[in-house]
Structures are given as C-alpha cells and as structure tokens.
Subunit: 517 residues, 2 copies
C-alpha cells in the first residue's frame, strides 16, 4: 500500500480517479511532483484522488469558509515541519471543530480516496505531521475544549487540540499536574502527544502515555467515531483498542478526545546538578538514586560536557557547577514528604565522600530549579546555533548507553566539518539523544552515520526511536527495532483499519520493496 507499485485491488479501485486527477491538473489544488526523495528514500505519490474545486466547495459547506484554507499564503505554515527538514505540497487545510466534523471529512475523503495528513501542534521531529505530496491537512487546532475535570479522581477529559501547556496550567489550578512534560509544550497538542505516545522528562516517574491515558475517542478512516473514552482506571472488557491509536501517528485513526489521569502536584520539589568523572559513576549514582529515592525520583537526566559547553557558549547560560566535568546529572525529587530535600543532601554527601560524584549543587527554590532545568532543556537550541544537527533519539540498555557517543566521535574523527558530537538524555528511561553537528547538511555523512548508529542500536536490542516516533524520516530504519513478523502485522492492521490507506500515507510503515510484492 505504501509502495511505488501499489497492491492490485487498490490500483484498480483508484485508477479512474487518477485519470480524472490527471485531467484536472488545472484544479484549485493540484499535486506537484509525483516523486520525492527524502533521506535517500524514494517516495512515489499513491494513486489517490486529487482535490478538486467541487471538493473545496463541499468542505466549505461542511466547515464554513474560514475553516477551509487554500492558497500558498494560508496553507504554507502547515506545510513546513518543526525541524524544517521536510516540506509538503498540500494545497488544502481543513479545521474541524468536532469529532462529527472529522467523521464527515474522513467519510468523504475515504469515498473519494483522498489522502489525509492529520496535524496537531506540528511539533513532530520525525516529519510525521506535514504532508509529503498533496495530502489534505486535517488540523485539530480548533478542537480545544476542556470537557471535564474530576477533582476527586484527577481524571481530565478534553478535546485533542488542547495545547499541553494550557492543560498544565488548568490542572495546576486544581492541585494536579499533567503526567507528561515536553520542551514543545507551548505549541504541541494533547491529541498529537497521544498519537505519538510522546515521552519527555517525567516518564521515569509517571510512565508513558500508554499507561496514563485512560480512554480516548478516535475517528477511523471510514469516518466511524470510535468511543473508547473510558475514564475508569480499570476496564478489562475485551480488546484495549485505545492502544491502537496511542503511538500509531495518525495512521490508524485521528484522536479527537482524550481522558488522562493526572497525578497530584508534589508539595516538595528538590533538584540537584551533579558533576561526575566517568559514565560508570553515572550508572553507580543511578543505582543509588533508585534505591534511595524510590518513588520520589522524578527525573534522572544526563548531559555530557560537550552539551553543557555549547549551552554556556551559545546561550550564555551558566552551568550551575563551575568546575568542568566529563558528565553532569540532573536529579529531581518530587514528594509529599518534607524530608526529601535533606535526604537528597545526605545521599549526595555520602556519594561525594565515596568519590562516586565529584561535585554537586542542590536547591528547593523554584527560580533556581527553573535555571537548572534550562541547561538541560536548551541543548538542542544551543546546537542549532552551532550548525546543522543530525539528531538521534534512541533507547539503549544502560550499560551501552554512552558507548555509542564515543564510537560516533571515533567514526567521524576524519570528517573536517564535524563541529560537535554530544550525548544527553533520560538515563532513567534508557533514552539517549545523540547529536552530531556540522556547518551544513552533508549527505555522505548522513549515509554513513545513520545506518551505523541504528545497526549498533539494533545489535543491543535498543530502539531506533525512543520517543520521537517513526514519521516520514525513519521508516527505512524500522526493521532495526521491529521484526519482520511485527512489521507484517502492522501492515495487516493498517490494511484492516484503513484499506485505502488514506490516513497519513508514506509515514511509519516502510514502503514494500517491489520484490516483496
């Protein structure tokens, strides 16, 4: 379905539409090129219907004129992704207000075999939320109502287009917090978070969205509104269908409502910034932290010296520790117990005495806590000021976590244009952000380094995408984490739930090689 040589029955079904489409190249919203190469992968436009003037009129009657955007000026911002790595050729953006609107749109598009690219906050870093060719962009930005918050259970029910930061502020007012926190919280939407199973800096404490989302409503390719908007913590009635939509990046359905369990706001938050001599000592500190801090540990983040150096030099942030160390760790404890700060100091003092750590500073003051977090949160921003960033988001067993950064440095030592190779990330979740910076994109380097890192990740049963998803940019590496049988099952589920493959095509599932058909 994703290939340059589509499955026969689909070919037949769509043939008349393609012919019709070719005749209508002068229509309001015409497709651009039928072939695109992204990250060395050649994509051929599927045999989808093209959007006609009549379609635009239909959508206007459905959603109202202001919610059907055409023309380069209006559609442009929806065609460029967050990383500016990909740009789409969509000529039409639809802005539904309700699940019923989404249902009407998908029913129509499914009948007409028009491809659809769902878009929430458009903060995907895997080019998952922009069109590749002329897919219709379905934006959830107007579906932004909070439906209910239960102050006894802490369950929030809201529409998919609510911005994460606004939800954070809302539940904060009730003494609760969102179970996830991301750098992009100011613009990402909860429906996008759920569709991509977004992770972030609190997974160690609150787990992934697969655990926190109690229920959801989604619209499937044929327009069926699937109500799985359970608000109970326990519900063992048949297949747990919500999980089909959490992390499938809009390829199996469009999430329209979410019920999510919010934890209580902690009363006491303490943060430490710690310098260490070696990665082995980082691991030792992690074991101590898990055993000592237990349920109060809410973050355990690693930064190497390269990352901290560029945050200091490019953003003029001061590292909370003045002496230079090869590694830094940020520990956050959040608790109902007032003793947690003293406990942290006692444990770190002991670790200092035993030379597990070399230096540390701790605080329970919110302004200082924010400053320390800024150092961790702005690494990518600092690297982007340095040049072009090849960003890898991988999971690895902790024993292998930093080795790949050193191997990558070694591998690239003869590339003159490499400005930095640095590693940082969520030790608590085994999630490494490995970054290579050059002055500008170099295809030769990309061709060498991507397979190198992903093969190594695969060798140690890591994940080639810990939290960023597959999107458009990693389909060719999916097989490094998923077995053939698993990819076959993914295809089979996709075919069952979206037989015309109208939902977010070209994404997530790799194109079938011609020889495999």
């Amino acid at each position: 379905m994703y290939s340059s040589k589509p499955v026969t029955h689909v070919r037949r079904m769509l043939l008349h539409r393609v012919l019709q489409c070719r005749r209508k190249r002068s229509s309001a919203v015409a497709a651009a090129s039928n072939v695109k190469v992204v990250n060395d992968v050649r994509h051929v436009r599927g045999e989808y219907g093209c959007v006609t003037d009549a379609d635009v009129r239909h959508f206007r009657s459905l959603l109202g004129e202001p919610n059907v955007l055409t023309g380069a000026e209006n559609v442009g911002p929806y065609n460029v992704d967050y990383m500016k790595h990909a740009s789409g050729d969509s000529g039409l953006v639809l802005r539904p207000k309700t699940a019923e609107d989404v249902s009407d749109i998908l029913k129509y598009c499914n009948d007409r075999s028009i491809a659809v690219c769902p878009q929430a906050g458009n903060t995907s870093v895997s080019s998952g939320s922009v069109a590749l060719f002329d897919e219709v962009v379905l934006s959830t930005e107007r579906m932004n109502n909070i439906i209910n918050f239960d102050p006894v259970s802490g369950v929030l029910v809201c529409e998919a287009g609510c911005v994460l930061d606004s939800l954070m502020k809302y539940v904060d007012g009730h003494g609760y917090m969102m179970p996830l926190d991301l750098g992009s919280k100011g613009s990402c939407q909860i429906g996008g978070n759920v569709s991509t199973n977004a992770g972030g800096i609190r997974v160690i404490r609150y787990g992934t969205l697969q655990g926190c989302v109690l229920g959801l409503e989604a619209v499937t390719a044929d327009g069926t509104i699937l109500d799985c908007l359970n608000t109970m913590r326990k519900d063992n009635t048949g297949y747990h269908l919500k999980h089909l939509f959490i992390g499938s990046e809009g390829t199996l359905g469009i999430v329209t409502k979410v019920a999510i369990l919010c934890p209580n706001l902690p009363k006491h938050v303490n943060v430490a910034f710690i310098g260490l001599d070696s990665y082995d000592k980082v691991l030792k500190l992690f074991s101590i932290a898990r055993a000592e801090f237990g349920e109060t540990l809410s973050s355990f983040e690693l930064l190497d010296n390269t990352a901290v150096t560029y945050v200091e030099s490019k953003l003029n942030f001061l590292c909370p520790i003045t002496n230079v160390h090869p590694f830094y760790v940020l520990i956050e404890l959040a608790s109902s117990q007032p003793t947690v700060g003293q406990h942290m100091e006692n444990v770190l003092e002991k670790a200092l005495g035993e030379s597990v750590i070399s230096d540390a500073t701790t605080t329970d003051q919110m302004s200082s806590i924010h400053k320390i977090w800024k150092v961790r949160e702005t690494v990518i921003e600092a690297l982007l000021k340095l040049g072009y960033v090849y960003s890898f988001d991988i999971s690895l067993p902790l024993s292998r976590f930093y080795e790949i950064v050193e191997l990558t440095r070694e591998k690239l030592k003869d590339f003159a244009d490499v400005k930095a190779v640095c590693g940082f990330g969520h030790i608590g979740d085994g999630n490494l952000h490995l970054n290579v910076v050059t002055s500008q994109r170099n295809e030769e380097l990309a061709r060498m380094i991507e397979p190198f890192i992903y093969r190594w990740t695969s060798k140690y049963r890591g994940s080639v995408s810990a939290e960023h998803g597959i999107g458009l940019s990693k389909t060719q590496y999916l097989e490094h984490t998923k077995s053939k049988a698993a990819i076959d099952l993914m295809r089979s589920l996709k075919n069952t739930m979206d037989p015309k493959c109208i939902l977010n095509p070209y994404k997530v599932i790799p194109a079938v090689a011609a020889s495999d058909q």
Copy 2:
C-alpha cells in the same frame, strides 16, 4: 465466527473436517454435546476439527509423551475453573516447554482447524481459561524460566508460565517488587496475568500491566512467533503491538515471554485500618489521602460492614477496630522516606478531629500489616463459606461507587434466600467488588440481578469488568461497556489475526446473532 451459524467461507473450509470428525466419533478424544447453555447464553460448537488418534501421536512426537495428557483422570483438573462455575469437555492437554513448541502446536492446529484453549494458572473468575467444548488445552505451566533480571533498570524478563508468587520472591531478593499483587498469586502465572491485564491491589500506585509490561513475545494463531520483547522504557517504533495481547485473554495470541518493569522495594510501609460513618466520608478521606500522601499512597481499599462481619464470623479473624462502623478503609503508604508513618498519624488525627473518620489504628509492623491485609483479602473466602456467591467486578465513577450496593439490597429485599449483599474494593481505582450470596444458585435471581447491575454500570459509563475480564461468562454484557463500533473493530481484529478463530473460541467477543449475519 462465534455464532451458531458460522460465516460461509469458514463453513466451507471446515466442512470436510466436520464430516471426518463425525465419522471418527470413536476416536481417542471425542467431542461431547455440540450445544451448551452457560449463563442463559446458548453456545454451539464451532465447526472445528476433532482431535484424532493421529493428532495425539503427532503431539507426542512433538512434545514427548509426558507432555501430552489424555484420559479423564489426567485432563480433569484442566477442565474445571477456579470458581467451579464452568467445566470443559477437553480431552487433550498439551504442555509445551518453549515458544517454538507453542508455534508448532498452533501451526498444526491452525492447519487442522482444531480449537485451542490457552491456560496459565487457571485462576480466571470469568471462565476464560477452561475449554467450553473439546478445545485442546494448551498449558503454559512448563514454560517457567526466569530469563534475565537487570538490577540497574529493574527489568525482569521471564517465561509466561512463571508463577507470580515465585517472581515476587525472586525480585524481592534484588531489592525490587512486582508491580502487581493478587489474591491468587500462589498459582496464577505471569502470562495469564498479562493476557488478562490483571489488576489487584497496587494499581493505584503502579498502574495496570498495560503500563508496566515493557515487551512480550507472543505466538499468533498461524504459529508466527512475534518478538516484541522490548526491555526499554521508551520505544516509539510503529504500532505498539504488545497491547493487542495484554488483556485480550488469549484470543489474539498466546503470550510466551514477558519483560516487566519492577519498582524498588519501599523502605517504609505503614498501614491504617479506619472506621467511617458514611460513604461520603470515605470519599472525603480519599481526597485528603491523595492530596496529603501523594506518591506514597499505595492502596486505598474499602470494605463495608457486611464484608467485615462475615470475615469475622466465618474465618474467625478479628477486625482491627473493635467498634462497628458502616464502612472501613485500609490505607497503605509505601515510601523511601522515614517520615511517612508520622505523616499518616498526623493526617488521621486531624481527620478524626474533624469527624471525617470515626476510629483508626495504624501500624508499621509487618506481622500486624499482614493481619490487617488478611481482613481485606479473605472477604471472598468468607462469603464462599456462607453460600453461593454472585460476584460482580465493576468500575464506577466514585460518586456512584457504593450506591449500586444499596440499590441491589433494595432490589433483592423480597428474595428469601439472599444471605448477604456486600461491597468492597479498590476505591483508588474506582473498582467495586459487589457480591450477592444465596444458599444456592438461583437462575431467577441471576436473570434479574445481572442485567440490573450491568445496565446501571453502563448508564454511568462504568465498566462491566474492571479487572476480571470477559471470559466466557460476560460476553453477553460486553455491549454495556463497549460501543457497537468498538465491538465491530474487535471482531475485525480477531478475523485479521485469527481467521479460523482457533484461539480461545466462545470467549470475550459475543456470538453474532443470526439476524446480524
């Protein structure tokens, strides 16, 4: 596929086998009746192949003679369920040792269209783990190896047949605990726990298995071994396939290996047993407990006076509080912080002063903690000594949680044989165990009370099975929690993954009414 009038292509495929089966009624393992009525639902044996002497020989060559059980004496125990509500007519039990064995068995059964009933610890209380007709029982009891435990990450990898209690003891030795705890831990197996998304008394703290299971290996109906045995906390590479097998009760595949995240053992555990005057005060105490105890709250359990009375009179346990109260709450705090016990006492003292609670006793002594937990854990045992137990395991919004117990009492007030109506359960998870006890099963009462309770649950968007699953005994009530679209999608997934419907037939998905075909 589940109906008395199977879908045509399956009918055709199986016809020659049925004829063959009818001719071989004298074979080693013959089917009994072709029709059974369970809980007023009429089940007709699907048109499956019957097990022949040649099949038994084949399985013996595959697994070795001792692992292929035939004859009433050997097979008998596998045919009776935990609640003694259901008994199967299986004539053959297979005991594979490896995933490859399971694969070989399923490949063979799929080719021969022989139905298979997967069985782990056989502790299902929804008749999900015994055969209904002559399905071959596939027992995972010999697949009981621990594969790996990582003391840094706390990730346990083991085979599906490991008994929960033995895993608890194993990880305890490493300073960790299993994230779930169940009354049946002495015999239930982790593969069964995962396949049924088992809940228990720690869900409030550690969430469900959908969140704790990092990866699994499962064998699908055609014998494909699906390796999703991820051990990373974060892995966003395509569809999260493991969730298809968590909670689908063996109808989409047989879980053979599990990777599960274990939390650190808490250093300080404190338990309180509290008497309260009204359900409103229980809710008030729950709000206080969530806000005050936050992350340290590991259980918040409710018992009504009826439940406690029978635990005292039938099992000779002493209620930790001597005065009688309409409601009792058990609170457990588990923490890394030594102050948690004092904190609990301060909070309860304040609640006593404000008349939120009427009485309380607290302890940090393990022997006393075990005694208090016994009162909560033995309610069902006490009720079974009283008579026949109609057991309902429902989720409800907390505001409606106890109302249904009172409504049920009212509804049954004229039934002479009703000995007790009691409610207990996990307030923290909205999960109520509502029980009605009579001297013996009364069909008239069952016919009245089941739809009454499930319709009421549905009205308030609760779940008709919070943690016990659907199994065989609740298929007719699935529609009270799942929408038609959701049930249709379940059927569609089942048909995609198990087109001959050989895996745990008659369970989970309701039979299609003849009129709907």
